[in-house]
């Protein structure tokens, strides 16, 4: 399954998740009564209570709309989604009109098209059409609809209303001239975050979105969502401002790495850099939303201080090598050691596949303990209007996955300390992902063997016997297990630097050599090995997990989560 898409394909993918999302919500109720109707000549049967807009979406027709959003109430005010229903005296808003048996609906009738053309003309009366300098350009619902169905030339001869730009606080800028007054942003703040920080002031064509005096979106923890749901370039992100054109960005399905909620996201990349994070709809996890805390923390994926080649330390010198030579060197070191106890420290920012490979290696070498350190916040940040969604206290994506693999959390809430045992250990010390930034140089001086598999250079481990460059989650395929035990997949959005490879691949090759068998060559196989080792993952594979994840059978209570 190719999960990397360019803009055009991305829009397609987004559409399917949206439609699927709406369906999932409906399907939660058992035994819903069905209704059969005809939309644009196509007969379909849908649950009673479905809106015409949703039904049309199911039938593959996107009725243009601005104010309707699947996660918000429907005020039916933009008037773009009007459709013809046979027998009705006038066109009806498809976002609020529900299906009825035998209904015959036309979304493409002359009347419907003429009305949309009219409404679109009204939108452009006061719209600056500054697409060339507008961040929304290329993913703008106004641009798209006008291009598809609008008049070739506007008839407005009057000067346009000019509002200029306003700082709404937080990461949000408001370009009032581009606003289509859909009030999605206002409704998000009122209905979902339940902090009414935005409002419509004035009325008629003087109406404009505003904050209350000097209070702004800096008081919000979820304000980035209003930028996402704004159908035009009226609300834009300061962080993303003029950074990239929408059509140059690649979209990759992923999981937010910044807490244990596991919000489904897309990583938007260009030139092998992450430029922004956008929510991906998953009604079981995060709805259409993500928090500002998570959204704002993607820069670490672009860090430059990377390990790029395997490094072997011998005779007080570090020597870079190719993978084959480095792994052979490690294997022969291990062979000379014989059975020895292992103490490992891993990072909950690494995938189940990677952590599972560490567990297997520890076992193969003769057993030992695996610990991890994980940052933790004092408070959860909830989203009142979406049950089950919160920025969790555990500020790493795979704490649950680590626990399920038998790893133990040590250290404090800043993910520091707790490694005294390892420091003094005289057996094998194995480190995955954690660069031990709080530790002194020459970590574990008495150890018989120190192996560091990491993405970043580490001063504490600069003289480890082996330093292996591995990829971050954003550079590989894999899974995280969220706080609730939901196993979710992510796909590679970036390519890793130099010789960096997924840790499961490196360790798999090593284990293969040690046990004289085939190591996994695909992430899917690596997950298969994890699923065998962890009881609650029984029966799971990549196909069943899919793009929306699967709740695993058990959940280990995570302290402080």
């Amino acid at each position: 399954m190719a999960k990397k898409t360019t803009k055009a394909g991305g829009a397609e993918a987004k559409k399917t998740t949206k439609a699927g999302g709406a369906k999932a919500k409906k399907d939660r109720g058992v035994a819903v009564e069905k209704v059969t109707l005809t939309i644009d000549g196509q007969e379909l049967t849908v649950p009673r209570g479905t809106t015409l807009l949703q039904a049309a979406q199911d039938a593959g027709t996107e009725v243009p709309h601005y104010c309707y959003h699947p996660g918000l109430s429907s005020p039916a005010q933009c008037r773009l989604c009007l459709v013809e229903v046979e027998g009705a005296p006038k066109l009806l808003p498809s976002c609020t009109t529900t299906v009825a048996d035998g209904q015959v609906v036309h979304t493409q009738s002359d009347d419907a098209i003429r009305m949309r053309r009219g409404v679109l003309e009204f939108y452009l009366l006061n719209h600056p059409l500054d697409c060339p300098i507008c961040d929304q350009s290329g993913e703008c619902d106004l641009q798209d609809h006008v291009f598809a169905e609008g008049r070739e030339h506007g008839r407005g001869r009057e000067a346009k209303r000019v509002l200029g730009r306003d700082d709404f606080g937080g990461d949000v800028l408001f370009y009032g001239d581009r606003c289509v007054m859909c009030t999605r942003c206002v409704r998000f703040m009122n209905e979902i975050e339940e902090k009414p920080l935005l409002t419509v002031v004035e009325r008629g064509d003087r109406a404009v979105i505003d904050t209350f005096f000097d209070e702004g979106l800096e008081q919000s923890n979820w304000a980035g969502n209003v930028v996402d749901i704004c159908p035009v370039g009226a609300l834009v992100s300061k962080d993303f401002l003029h950074k990239a054109r929408a059509w140059d960005l690649e979209h990759t399905d992923s999981i937010c790495p910044n807490c244990s909620q596991g919000c489904n996201i897309e990583l938007h990349t260009r030139d092998n850099l992450v430029h922004r994070m956008k929510p991906r709809t998953n009604l079981e996890v995060n709805g259409h939303w993500i928090c500002d805390y998570g959204r704002g923390r993607y820069e670490w994926l672009n860090r430059g201080d990377r390990l790029e080649a395997p490094v072997v330390h011998a005779e007080e010198r570090n020597t870079a090598m190719g993978w084959t030579a480095a792994l052979e060197a490690l294997k022969s070191r291990i062979d000379t050691l014989g059975e020895s106890s292992v103490k490992a420290v891993v990072s909950p920012f690494w995938s189940n596949e990677d952590l599972g490979a560490v567990s297997r290696l520890v076992e193969t070498l003769g057993g030992g303990s695996v610990v991890f350190r994980s940052p933790r916040a004092e408070e959860e940040i909830t989203l009142p209007g979406y049950e089950g969604l919160a920025r969790r206290k555990a500020l790493a994506p795979n704490v649950q996955g680590a626990e399920l693999l038998g790893c133990t959390r040590v250290g404090d809430d800043a993910a520091q300390g707790g490694l005294e045992d390892l420091m003094d250990h005289d057996g094998v010390v194995l480190v995955l992902g954690d660069a031990l930034d709080d530790q002194p140089e020459g970590f574990a001086p008495n150890a018989a063997l120190v192996v560091y598999l990491g993405a970043y250079t580490s001063s504490a481990l600069a003289s480890a016997d082996f330093q292996f460059p591995v990829t971050t989650f954003a550079e590989q395929e894999g899974t995280f297990t969220n706080h609730a035990g939901r196993v979710q997949r992510f796909w590679p959005a970036l390519s890793g630097p130099g010789a960096a490879r997924p840790a499961w691949l490196v360790l798999g090759a090593l284990l293969g050599a040690l046990k004289e068998e085939e190591g996994p060559t695909r992430a899917e196989q690596a997950f298969g090995l994890v699923a065998k080792a962890v009881k609650s993952y029984k029966g799971l594979d990549y196909e069943t997990i899919g793009a929306q994840g699967v709740l695993s059978a058990a959940r280990v209570p995570v302290p402080g989560d």
Partner: protein
């Protein structure tokens, strides 16, 4: 008795005590037979009350003319939810000033009508949403409600019947759109005065989410006499489709403007030339707006045979609306008048719906440009098309209201537009 003038052809039922300060007081009102109808209604079943209103054929006086008894019968029965009756006293349509006089002179008639309506629909609370700028009316009404509470006419046990009905007077804050029934509900709830999508209709989900009926002041004021005298009695006036009497607010170039209560079906020509004493300085009639700013203009020819009933005005080419008759003589600059009406709608649009928010303002700027002599003949086509795009496409009908005056004026007074566009000439500019 009309106010400030009266005429022998009037049938003063609602307006009988206009200008009579004593009728405003509870004592004075009782002395004039007040609250008898309420007593009678309380002795009947709510269903029977609704039946009498249905039999009378009374139609809503707020503009749409919807049959009142039928509207009342939409309220659910035995649903265990609180029900509300909202009295729409937000009268703001340009040319309309009938409710104001009812509020000022006969507040107890309105309260009585509200209580009967509330009883008939099982409503436990009546909100009278009164236009904020009606300072006097608000005061008079508040006093009347207070007195009625004190004497047990409103409250926990109205007239000793065991029936509990509360009445609250709510002052609006100056928006025409709060007179639209769902906008009124939003405003009453403390939200922006923005109309809501129907369905759900107010009888199912209304104010505060509960079953609600909204009636105009004049509608509710007609209830007590109908209950007292019966449906057939009311039908002795008016036509089959438009029974009863109606207050006509006449403004503009007539000698005696004001409110007149006349049987529906009355001749528009007689209203102007007889009841109102004819045109000022006997100038020639140019046009009449028969039902407030949202309806089409009638040309002088069309006025000739226009009967002032719901059906009669439609036949003549316009709508009765709330019977606000604006009379314009030969000196009237039609383009200017229509521009003023359009700018009223642009000012009052709540701004939710795109066609209304943008359309009202656009139509106004085009009209202003024409008025300024910078218009083109194409602009007239654009005006027709743009107003067409504003009809039937929005949440409420404020948007639809722009088309009739604009389109009818272009159709019937095209030469005035062309004189401005081609020669910069203003017709009748005084």
């Amino acid at each position: 008795m009309g106010y400030p003038y009266s005429h022998e052809k009037e049938v003063p039922i609602l307006s009988k005590y206009f200008g009579d300060p004593e009728a405003r007081t509870l004592k004075g009102w009782k002395a004039r037979g007040g609250y008898k109808a309420l007593k009678k209604a309380l002795g009947m079943s709510p269903e029977d009350v609704v039946e009498i209103v249905k039999a009378s054929g009374l139609r809503g006086r707020g503009g749409a003319g919807f049959p009142t008894g039928l509207k009342w019968s939409f309220m659910p029965k035995d649903d265990a939810k609180p029900h509300y009756l909202l009295c729409n006293a937000d009268e703001s349509e340009p040319g309309t000033f009938k409710d104001r006089e009812l509020l000022r002179w006969v507040p107890h008639l309105l309260i009585e009508g509200c209580l009967i309506g509330a009883y008939a629909m099982g409503a436990e609370h009546v909100y009278i949403y009164c236009r904020g700028e009606f300072f006097e009316a608000n005061q008079v009404l508040a006093k009347a409600v207070e007195d009625a509470y004190e004497s047990g006419i409103i409250g926990d046990d109205i007239l000793g019947s065991g029936q509990k009905i509360d009445v609250t007077v709510f002052a609006g804050a100056g928006a025409y759109i709060c007179g639209e029934e769902t906008g009124l509900m939003s405003s009453l709830e403390g939200r922006r005065g923005e109309p809501r999508v129907k369905p759900p209709f107010p009888a199912a989900v209304g104010a505060f989410g509960m079953p609600t009926t909204i009636n105009n002041v004049e509608t509710l004021a007609a209830i007590p006499p109908i209950i007292e005298n019966g449906g057939e009695w009311y039908r002795q006036w008016g036509t089959e489709e438009s029974p009863g009497t109606k207050l006509f607010c006449v403004s503009g170039h007539v000698k005696r403007p004001g409110n007149y209560e006349l049987p529906l079906g009355f001749s528009l020509k007689d209203l102007i030339y007889d009841v109102c004493g004819g045109m000022i300085e006997d100038r020639a009639l140019k046009a009449v707006i028969p039902g407030g700013s949202s309806v089409a203009l009638l040309s002088a020819d069309e006025v000739e045979n226009c009967a002032l009933s719901y059906e009669g005005v439609i036949e003549a080419g316009s709508m009765l609306g709330c019977a606000s008759v604006i009379v314009m003589d030969e000196t009237t600059d039609i383009v200017h008048q229509v521009t003023r009406m359009a700018s009223f709608y642009a000012h009052e649009s709540c701004g939710q719906c795109t066609p209304c928010r943008e359309g009202t303002a656009w139509v106004t700027t085009i009209l202003k440009r024409i008025e300024d002599g910078r218009g083109t003949e194409d602009d007239l086509d654009t005006l027709i098309e743009v107003t067409d795009q504003m009809v039937g496409t929005t949440i409420c009908v404020l948007s639809d209201s722009v088309a009739p005056p604009v389109q009818s004026s272009i159709e019937k007074f095209r030469d005035e537009y062309l004189a401005l566009i081609r020669r910069g000439e203003r017709v009748g500019a005084a």
